[in-house]
């Protein structure tokens, strides 16, 4: 992950000044002219948007790079490059499921069953790493591009190292087996991971006459060093049958190997019992070595020495063990089989190698039970946050990291999860996984999610709906509003008033609904007919979101009533729109004009009282207007007002007559 100092290729801080802008999990570095011309920094357009090709190293050049010496360059620097490796997406996705499962798993399971559960989770993580390694291995084999091949091979070795470390942590920290079983686990671990000798073993075993093979004794030694007694005895039996003269010697060695006390996995024997047996067996081996039983055969003598835990004898087989941790485990097996976890450190320095690789440092730290050191070294050595984030989370669930506090952020688990999830969010597609990780960071997860989710580009409505669902489930009202507003603005720009309105209704954004309603009304005034009737006619309860929307719905209802020739209802509604101040003042003139055809109907529609109210509306409107300036537009206005007054007067006359007649009759 974070490399202490990484030089961006092509950037030259001596020749130019560099400026930085932080993006989500990325840094935008650009060269500036600031200070030279004394001007403002030259700003590259775009920002940290485009990604470098998958698998590329940390820097990539954007902008007008190659054109001449004075042109400035833009660099996008990433801190989590592994996120972009295609094959690793399987790792991220599958482990996401395991992670979520672990968080959900109730901690009500106590003691043993809880431990078994955690060990199972750890094994699941490892099997995902292994599956991914398998895929990567296949990819390496099948590619013809040498560059790709070496890239895949590197990944295979990184994944294999990750699995090795994880497995050791599982044995030492998660399972934390007792003295005897611990050793068995460590032997399994060695067998699983020291596979350099596997080919040799296979070659010898598959040869026609293994005992005549030149590497025969090497294979026997490998078996003994890895504690695979049965296999070693099986091979020795073959050799014995070929040498009838020394059959007694073979029998004695075979007997010793058979009698070697093995720590049991169950609790059938106590430690003291085991130690007594061991003492006894040890003395027996010692006796045979001293009385020169094996003196005639150097191979068997050295095996006997190994059984006695003779350090020099074991170290002689150094190339068969290939790694110091194999040596360490072998040494433990034959010199101190009842070792308790805490006693391991005593033996550590016996296996000192010349120059420790990062992997060695990590494993040593693990053997020393320095959990924090393991995590720290892994963070430095590995180019992803996946490993440390998941391992730390698992160890935290084992209640092993409680005491440790950071001087920044909340705690280590949360810090690492936040880093990992931020990396996911910088990816164009994996961002969805990041959400669940943020969810399980109690202190800063929410804030991180809020900041990251707003930066997800929303290119389709469906994607917007998915992001929206994430926000709504977490009551992130601010983000819900902003997403809906973005989508409503987009729809508005595309002249999709209906869509725009439904987005603002979803966000319950009254101001925006008002804005869109005004657009509808403006369109109506210009064209004389409504667009998007299917929407306006079906507003339902959402009509109450904003006053203007209510007016729009009611005004459309007026038109429908009018169209259906339900004139008196239409007239009543029209008047109500003005007297109840639902209609905006700017729209009153249109409404009054709409009243004209109703006033001219053969049947009288407006009652006297209604006509008076209409007149008052008209006078209110003209009174307000008259103070202001006049221009040619007002000529039309004046004509309209005159026509209205006339129509109102005539209607009033007709209605007085009509109402008078009705009362009289």
């Amino acid at each position: 992950a974070a490399v202490p100092s990484q030089v961006v290729p092509g950037a030259d801080p001596c020749a130019r000044q560099l400026c930085f802008a932080w993006g989500p999990a990325e840094v935008l570095v650009c060269e500036t002219l600031f200070g030279r011309r004394g001007g403002s920094p030259s700003r590259g357009k775009g920002g940290p948007g485009r990604a470098s090709p998958p698998g590329a190293l940390t820097g990539c050049v954007a902008g007008s790079g190659e054109a001449g010496p004075s042109s400035s360059r833009l660099f996008v620097v990433r801190k989590d490059q592994d996120i972009y490796i295609q094959t690793l997406r399987k790792l991220f996705n599958e482990s996401h499921g395991i992670f979520v499962g672990l968080q959900r798993s109730a901690e009500e399971l106590a003691g043993k069953s809880r431990k078994a559960q955690l060990v199972q989770v750890s094994k699941n993580y490892r099997s995902v790493i292994r599956a991914c390694m398998e895929d990567m291995h296949q990819a390496a084999i099948s590619t013809r591009d040498p560059a790709l091949h070496s890239q895949y091979s590197t990944q295979v070795s990184v994944l294999s190292a990750m699995e090795l470390i994880w497995n050791l942590c599982e044995i030492l920290f998660v399972e934390a087996a007792g003295a005897g079983p611990l050793l068995l686990r460590l032997l399994d671990w060695v067998r699983l991971h020291v596979c350099d000798v596997d080919n040799m073993v296979r070659e010898v075993l598959s040869s026609e006459n293994p005992s005549k093979h030149e590497l025969f004794w090497n294979v026997v030694d490998v078996f003994v060093l890895q504690g695979r007694m049965d296999e070693a005895r099986h091979l020795l039996a073959k050799e014995a049958s070929a040498n009838p003269t020394s059959v007694n010697m073979y029998k004695i060695l075979d007997d010793l190997m058979k009698k070697m006390p093995v720590p049991s996995l169950g609790n059938t024997q106590t430690l003291t019992e085991m130690e007594l047996k061991w003492q006894h067996w040890h003395e027996e081996c010692q006796r045979y070595l001293q009385d020169g039983t094996f003196a005639s055969n150097s191979h068997m003598e050295s095996i006997c020495k190994i059984l006695l835990g003779d350090e020099d004898a074991i170290l002689e087989k150094k190339e068969l063990m290939t790694t110091w941790y194999h040596f360490l485990v072998t040494q433990l097996l034959y010199s101190h089989p009842t070792v308790k976890p805490m006693e391991l450190r005593m033996d550590l320095f016996l296996g000192g190698e010349s120059s420790p690789e990062p992997l060695d440092m990590i494993l040593m730290a693990a053997f020393e039970f320095e959990m924090h050191q393991v995590i720290k070294e892994c963070s430095i050595a590995l180019s992803n946050w996946w490993f440390v984030a998941h391992l730390t989370d698992l160890l935290d669930h084992c209640k092993l990291l409680q005491s440790h506090n950071l001087y920044f952020g909340s705690n280590m688990r949360e810090f690492l999860l936040l880093e990992y999830a931020s990396g996911l969010f910088s990816h164009h597609s994996l961002w969805q996984l990041g959400v669940d990780y943020f969810d399980h960071c109690p202190e800063y997860g929410r804030v991180y999610l809020e900041l990251h989710i707003e930066r997800i580009p929303l290119n389709t409505e469906q994607k917007a709906l998915k992001v929206l669902r994430i926000c709504e489930q977490r009551q992130m009202h601010e983000q819900v509003r902003s997403i809906c507003k973005i989508m409503a603005m987009k729809a508005l720009r595309n002249n999709r008033l209906g869509s725009a309105l439904s987005w603002s209704i979803r966000a319950k954004d009254a101001a925006f609904a008002t804005l869109i309603s005004d657009r509808f009304l403006k369109d109506y005034c210009e064209r004389g007919c409504f667009s998007d009737l299917d929407l306006i006619d079906n507003l339902g309860p959402s009509m109450l979101l904003s006053d203007r929307l209510t007016f729009l719905g009611k005004y459309r209802e007026f038109h429908r009533l009018y169209g259906e020739k339900r004139f008196s209802e239409a007239a009543k509604l029209l008047l109500m729109l003005m007297t109840a101040h639902i209609a905006p003042c700017s729209f009153w003139m249109t409404l009054l004009t709409d009243a004209l055809p109703l006033l001219e109907q053969k049947e009288v529609v407006f009652s006297a009282e209604q006509t008076y109210e209409l007149m008052r509306c008209l006078e209110d409107l003209t009174a307000g207007k008259s103070d202001k300036k006049t221009c040619q537009d007002d000529d039309i206005e004046t004509v309209k007002v005159e026509m209205l007054r006339l129509a109102l007067a005539r209607n009033l006359a007709r209605v007085i007559v009509k109402e008078g007649t009705l009362e009289g009759s």
Binding site: K90, S429, N495, S499, S502, G540
Partner: protein, 373 residues
């Protein structure tokens, strides 16, 4: 388990079985998937029927094998097999493409393309394509709908659209299906189900149905394969609505289902008493109306799967269909969630014969070849 999964390093937006040829009595063995939200989206063809993978007892063992794939510009929004070789794909760029799967050499190629079949009128942006959200095929006819509220009717091998209804809907059209050969059904983002008669030149729907109350957007629609008046839709709130389009303007029944958007609903094509739905909440439900409840104990639980019975809230019907029935003895259905540990969205599913395929945002595809076992 009888379900096999494969992680494919891309989020799957659509999964579709290749139709079976009418003559052969076989089980489905090839399906197509489309991805979304990638910089490099792909159409992929998968095989699950490879003979080399059949186990001793004859049952299928291996995971899906990739036969071939091809790059696709934009998110795959919808996908339909036109016939055994051709696939129609709707893109978020507004383009509709017909891909051909060459089975002799296992390659895919773009056969035909309608660029920007869906677009916005905005002049400011030169690339004003609008996402094409749904596509449906019937013989050589292809109908597409989009975020632009437009409906297009294309005919294979014809360069231009046969018919276009601009501004057919003022909100986003989410899905489309054929009702009859000349009529289509669309659902939109304000909870409406519309019938369009393509013979009529009027640019208006022949019928509008809508949800009451809050206009919850509808995301998917499917028609009963035998009884064409029965239509199922799925909404943003995860609700399953059953409509009888012969009467009323409201759904016959509303069934509480998923906790988030229902992305797809499918009647089983040959066994329509069964219905399948999938959702953003990561679940996939099997709705079974074939069981006669009176014959089964009501506490039925099958191997850890949660099984629940739901009551219809039906209005009066006189139709003999399990989906519309209000007969109290048959008025229940068995619902099974087929995904036990759900996390991310199940975007798409398809069923054919005894086989189910579905794809998720967790970048995995799942195949179950013994659905009714």
């Amino acid at each position: 388990e009888d379900v096999c999964a494969k992680f494919v390093s891309q989020k799957i937006s659509k999964a579709r079985w290749r139709p079976l040829s009418a003559a052969a009595l076989q089980t489905p063995d090839v399906f197509a998937t489309g991805s979304w939200d990638n910089e490099d989206n792909r159409i992929s063809i998968w095989s699950v029927g490879d003979l080399g993978n059949v186990g001793l007892s004859g049952e299928y063992q291996g995971e899906p094998q990739l036969l071939c794939d091809i790059r696709h510009n934009g998110d795959v929004m919808d996908m339909q097999f036109l016939d055994q070789e051709r696939i129609v794909v709707a893109s978020s760029t507004g383009t509709v493409t017909v891909f051909r799967h060459h089975q002799n050499n296992q390659t895919l190629s773009a056969n035909q393309r309608w660029e920007k079949a869906h677009y916005h009128v905005d002049q400011d942006t030169p690339c004003g394509g609008a996402a094409c959200t749904g596509v449906i095929c019937n013989n050589s006819e292809i109908v597409t709908v989009g975020e632009d509220g437009r409906i297009n009717l294309f005919r294979v091998d014809q360069k231009d659209a046969v018919r276009t209804i601009d501004n057919a809907d003022s909100s986003t059209l989410h899905a489309v299906t054929f009702l009859r050969t000349t009529e289509i059904l669309t659902v939109n983002s304000i909870g409406q189900l519309k019938i369009w008669d393509l013979r009529q030149q009027r640019n208006e729907p022949s019928q509008i149905f809508s949800l009451t109350g809050d206009r919850v957007p509808l995301h998917c629609v499917d028609r009963h394969p035998n009884q064409q008046h029965i239509v199922a839709t799925g909404g943003q709130d995860g609700m399953l609505s059953i409509w009888d389009i012969r009467q009323g303007t409201m759904p016959v029944s509303l069934l509480n289902a998923h906790e988030a958007e229902m992305w797809e609903v499918h009647f089983h094509p040959s066994n329509p008493d069964h219905l399948f739905t999938c959702s953003e909440d990561g679940s996939l439900w099997h709705w079974d109306t074939s069981t006669d409840i009176s014959e089964k104990p009501s506490f039925l639980h099958q191997g850890g799967r949660s099984t629940t019975y739901f009551s219809h809230n039906t209005t009066n019907q006189s139709v003999i269909s399990a989906w519309l029935s209000n007969d109290p003895t048959k008025d229940r259905m068995e619902i099974t969630n087929l995904i036990p540990n759900q996390t991310l969205s199940v975007n798409s599913l398809d069923i054919l014969g005894p086989c189910l395929v579905y794809g998720t945002d967790a970048e995995a595809i799942y195949v179950n070849r013994q659905l009714f076992a």
